[in-house]
Symmetry: C2
Subunit: 499 residues, 2 copies
Amino acid sequence: MITGKNYIGYAQSANGDTTYHTFNPKENAKNAPTFYEATTQEIDSAVSLAHKAFSSFRKTSGAQRAQFLKAIANEIEALGDTLFTTYMSETGLPEGRAKGECGRTLGQLRMFAALVQNEDWRNPTISGESQELKQLLIPLGPVVVFGASNFPLAYSTAGGDTASALAAGCPVIVKSHPMHAGTGELVANAIVKAAKDTGMPEGVFSNLNSAGIEVGVQLVKHPQVKAVGFTGSIKGGRALYDLASQRAEPIPVFAEMGSINPVIITQNALENRSAEIAQTYADSITLGVGQFCTNPGLILGVASPQMAEFVNDLGAKTASIDPYCMLHPNIHNAFESNGEDVLSQNEIQLVASYQGDTEPAFAKAKIATVPGAVFLKNTKLHQEVFGPFSLVVQCKDEAELLDIIEQLEGQLTGTIIAQEEDYASLSPIIERLQDRVGRIVFNGVPTGVAVVDAMTHGGPYPASTDSRFTAVGNQSIKRWVRPFSYQGFPKELLPEFLK
Amino acid sequence: MITGKNYIGYAQSANGDTTYHTFNPKENAKNAPTFYEATTQEIDSAVSLAHKAFSSFRKTSGAQRAQFLKAIANEIEALGDTLFTTYMSETGLPEGRAKGECGRTLGQLRMFAALVQNEDWRNPTISGESQELKQLLIPLGPVVVFGASNFPLAYSTAGGDTASALAAGCPVIVKSHPMHAGTGELVANAIVKAAKDTGMPEGVFSNLNSAGIEVGVQLVKHPQVKAVGFTGSIKGGRALYDLASQRAEPIPVFAEMGSINPVIITQNALENRSAEIAQTYADSITLGVGQFCTNPGLILGVASPQMAEFVNDLGAKTASIDPYCMLHPNIHNAFESNGEDVLSQNEIQLVASYQGDTEPAFAKAKIATVPGAVFLKNTKLHQEVFGPFSLVVQCKDEAELLDIIEQLEGQLTGTIIAQEEDYASLSPIIERLQDRVGRIVFNGVPTGVAVVDAMTHGGPYPASTDSRFTAVGNQSIKRWVRPFSYQGFPKELLPEFLK
């Protein structure tokens, strides 16, 4: 069923000699299919087909693209257990997660189909005496989408970036994530079938395999590529951003990158419901083995006896949760070494870590703590440890807490856990936090990103490369479009919906 | 009246030793006031004040900022003849232009005041069961605005970039354009007075002088600067874009840069109204001595006897227009040398140039022509000659014309001059042109940019550094804001208008 080949438009192709395999972290064994890295020629063909497809794809009506998106959703849905089995074999994630993420993916495709069913999303605007000027949003051109390691479906091959770009009228070339290339091929198959069935031009979609960085580098540098979507590490996202901004014609890169998602807990909250907060956060920190970009990696509060007790309780509760395998041994190794790196810093204290034996790629959740003054001075402690790890920073007073918030790097989310009696004094925290994040959660957890219009999934650098956009929800389509004005046009020459 | 000093917040300051003068190109003499370049310390102070001002400025209501913007407009209006006299002495432009540009500037300030009078511009959005998520647009932080040489009022100190950034709640630091530093100081005075009178925080605005590039470089690299607006040359805009994208924390740069604004004329149009088109274009090419970013620098058509006649007629009409002085001897020198550079290329033919004697900084308008095949091969011919210069490209057939459009660099505008009988066959031209420009003008001239909602003043690189935004009209405020979401917030803690 899985060929390991690239999709160059409608054709499967495997001209290269470099091959790789995906890995089952739960069984600690590589999966059978052999994947073929795309060659320079295959990359060129995919981009060239996308460039050609753009000239007709941009002219399709929103209703036609809606049909295409709905057909993709239906084809993915029809994959059924084949998809889930492959997904699980390439990630170690449980069936419930596979099905949940698939539902989210189908929902996103159908949401963008509904958005572009008519042309209102183009924000048609008419101005001037005698309606001289007519403006609308038009697509940028071919978009390269990099699949995310931690969302093989919802932020990869047919995920949010692909769905929003196709909805906008931009052909998409996916650089498949090597950890789940089989899942990627199944979804690519579904997209290609849907494209053929709904009469889309060949090249509207291609799927390129690669285990290294070279394919991605060539794609981002290609003159006919007009924008890039990426979800992953700061290092990876920044490298692509740099390549794109150094081009003769710079292009926009929307990279959603790392975040430690600070959580501020007030003294009143600890005095009223410390045990409940500890349980909620032990669950949030270990949810999906901590492999979410909104995982709470940093907890901030003012030092007190209640805080000391909370830290121990959070540690005990987190360390008591059964380990589970991470997505890939490489991700597990990074979790271990990044954790060790943080724990080797001065004046940091490991509060608790799971104590039993585990299987090879299974992560032992950890809680550590550090005084505010130490955290302020040592930016190594601000770095993300991707996985079930959280650092509790105990500040000497609220002034130090405010200083820390002000000096934090940009974040996807910030969370405030507080009591009603705190409301009157929360403004300084809210204002400083608002300046550093894309979303503030009140008395909740940052994990869980609703796919709705009012969602901001993005934030000041390095949470994203451009805080003016969001990666989730209908508004994420704005990343791939630009305003365009017709001036003094005769009706006959305007698009139907502008007449 | 003009001190030559910088405005660092509310204080005038001249700590540096580097000085310069502005120049009256009409009288060929330098103006009296001495201007003091901002020092590194003055730059730091201005940015530090802006950073501090942001924490309170961002909390002002839209209605308060509207008061501020209207007060700026009133203060500029009150400058009256002092402003016009200084403007004319620093640009050589006539009084009518000074007054017209002033009116545009006041109009823009009042337009943004009207926009932010209530908070609808923030696009408040509510989603989720029990309205969990509430999203709105918030300001990015301090913005650096580079004054444009060719619009001392409308795209400089209190021009569109400044007005839109202040409207959004972003403090502004202006890097004053050295050619009209006196005009800049008068306007800066007006802004500072308005800021004081309407109770704005000190640092909401600063004005820095500089004749070289160092002040601009330091501003763009400053960690507390969060965005940049620029209008000027490709070389200048690209240098700032590169600096901004190489920062540890990259920031958005909206640079509106050069454009040759292609005009396509059909054979039918030439057969019907060649003389009228020639007159319209001779006027558009020489309007404001060709010193507009939307000046038509390139005219395209299929070779024919009528085209040959049109070229000669356009040349004769353009060359018969009395020369007038350019903004500055440096701009005149660049016009001369860039024109010579283009005219020295192979197979290019000078059709006509003004033949009389002129005063030193006065520009002699020129029309040249070249075969399509030569233009296609030689990208030197695609470069902007800023001033009253236009190149007519005579293509061997429509296929070559389409090739040329497809291979053009990004442009602010494209224009189509056609007859009704052409309509049925214009699609290939319109589609290719749409891909290369921000605005298509039909049977008109590209010069003249209406300040209205449906205006797109921007376009694919190098017309701008980010085609997803416009520099003119209400929508230009989107350059300086980002979406932000409140999740699960109690009503008491939400901004008034989100409750």
